[in-house]
């Protein structure tokens, strides 16, 4: 077992609409952080909400995580896949928190429209101290063979954005 990290709790929310791959990208993120040695909690809601409604996944990591959901005003990174959802989640951000908005992504530059969720993790990765190969490993583990390269490519597109998120 790796040594547990002792950092203070940090909070990431991924939000959008059912069907956009929020549960998949939050799974990749949680695995990456967990492998890096953090205590991690990832909270999400299944069922009815997945039928095209608002979906959000909260990922908290640090030394010892208690509540699965991020208390309002304590979100460090907010990833919004559907821009109409921004206002709903804005109160969740802490002052100085980082907003990563899907509108920063040029859809044409992505290998596939459905890979936006992973591209956004690429942008997020610029803010986290995690080796890039750990991200690639987790992405490859999360997808079937034929989608692996495509999603790694989408991740790199996000990672190489000139401005990966706005500090608010």
């Amino acid at each position: 077992m790796k040594t547990m990290k002792t950092d203070p709790t940090r909070n990431i929310r991924i939000a959008g609409l059912g069907g956009m791959g929020i549960l998949t990208s939050s799974q990749v993120l949680a695995e990456v952080l967990f492998e890096a040695g953090y205590d991690v909690k990832k909270a999400e809601v299944h069922g009815m909400a997945q039928r095209g409604g608002s979906v959000a996944s909260d990922i908290r990591f640090g030394r010892h995580i208690l509540s699965p959901m991020i208390p309002d005003g304590e979100t460090d990174f907010l990833l919004i896949l559907a821009s109409e959802e921004i206002e709903m989640h804005r109160p969740a951000l802490r002052p100085g928190g980082v907003l990563i908005d899907a509108r920063a992504f040029d859809a044409a530059a992505l290998p596939n429209r459905k890979s936006l969720n992973i591209a956004m993790l690429g942008a997020l990765s610029r803010h986290l101290d995690i080796p890039v190969d750990a991200w690639h490993r987790a992405i490859r583990a999360a997808f079937p063979e034929k989608l692996r390269d495509l999603n790694v490519q989408a991740f790199e597109t996000g990672r190489n954005l000139p401005k990966p998120g706005d500090t608010l």
Binding site: V40, K41, A49, P71, E84
Partner: protein
Amino acid sequence: MSHRQLLSGNEAVALGALHVGCARGTGYPGTPSTEILERFDELGGEAEWAPNEKVAAEVALGVAFAGVRAMVTMKHVGLNVAADVLFTSAYSGVQGALVFVVADDPGLASSQDEQDTRRYGIAAGVPIIEPADSQEAYDYTRLAFTVSARWKTPVILRLTTRVSHTAAMVQPCDAAETPPRPHFVRDIPGRVMIPGHARIKHRALRSKLAEIQKWNETEGPNRILPGAAAVGIVTCGVASQYAREAAPEATVLKLGMTYPLPFQTILGFLKDKAKRFVIEENDPFLVEQIRAAGGDVPWNPEAFRMGELNVARVKRILTHDASPEPVAPRGKPPCLCPGCPHAYVFEILKKHDCIVAGDIGCYTLAALPPLSAMDSQICMGASIGVGLGLRHVLPEAEARRVVSVIGDSTFLHSGLTGVAEMVWNPPPFGHVLIVLDNQTTAMTGQQENPATGRRLDHTPSPRIRIEEVIAAMGVKNVLTLNPVRQAVELDAALVKALQTNELTAIVARQPCLLAARQIRAAEQPSCVACGTGAGG
């Protein structure tokens, strides 16, 4: 030593059940419980979906009567269906072990009510164990089986949405238990619950509970987390996480077994605390019992028995903040997928201004705008009975517009007895039943059901033909139509059915868009060349 793993509470329950030697897991899909059996199957456990929770619980009880360990999984409202089994199996007890894994949905993320399963513990006399995170979901699953096996009693493992669907660290315990071999031991007075036997078993149940309570006082899964002596919080389940985050300085008594409660421990804990709080989700279950036992704990404001708790709400309780809570933004409501076959049927029902007695599934979303084409939804199978009741008493012009609409999985869960009623006590102007057969249990994530021709693990099984069952039960007109390709015919059939005084059932069959590819693959004939199924 096993590796630490990142598991949801549901996955942790499955792993715990596997490690404790659970011989068979049964259940019916229901958010937030569904993934338990799916994971148990993936891990190599014997798992099955049953037609409904009552049958699932009966099968599990039979397994436990055979001397081995069984679990049955369901959502909170599923236990209403299985309650008959729960109450009397508490009397009979079990030979092996039987754990009811029941997942509550405080805040109604995907349910029709937010009932508190813990009430069933008191009502039926069944111990309740409540994990607070994935590690405890794993540990307490093992504990639930141990308690069940030791006292030969069913045990309820109560989960809630945030325990079931939060992924967190689990360090599994290496000591896998070797399950006993199944063997039938006759015990007629112990398992045939006629009055003469049941009177004796009721006494036996009460003495078992007294013993379990004594055990819970000294060896139960209850912990005191030290802090400042001034503030004492009694808590359980995921609420304990919010309490610890909201009040890191407080002394916390975290209860793992919440029925029968360790009252001496609780009263002893409260004695020297200047400020006392009980933090629990859903009903004031602990508060009521602690107060009844003489503990001086305050009632929390009524608002906090509704919805989920969180750190902010717990802070309000702890600071007696009675100011109005901020209204959480609602977000975009869910809707039927674009092109969903259900939508075609509801467009037709809407066009004819039908009074739709609805049921539980994705199609319940038809009640929301823009369709707004469902008039009632109460519980699994209610569409048929409620539709018949409306038809019996409404004036003719209104009665003729009443249609019962139910999905395939829901029909086989609780619709068959509704059809028996329809045939036995038909309303004067007949009735129309539409079965929306999308060939999967869609809302909970595309599980199999008795009409799909496949079992939980998607291997082939005999298939129940819904239209044949309905016809065999005596409904005169039974049609099967494709709601997408035969929408015109479906419209005409509905109009005709509404005009007659006969009973009509229309099976509207078209695969769910989300499951279509999986269904097609599973239904391809076996590959002759290699002798394997082509499904995948």
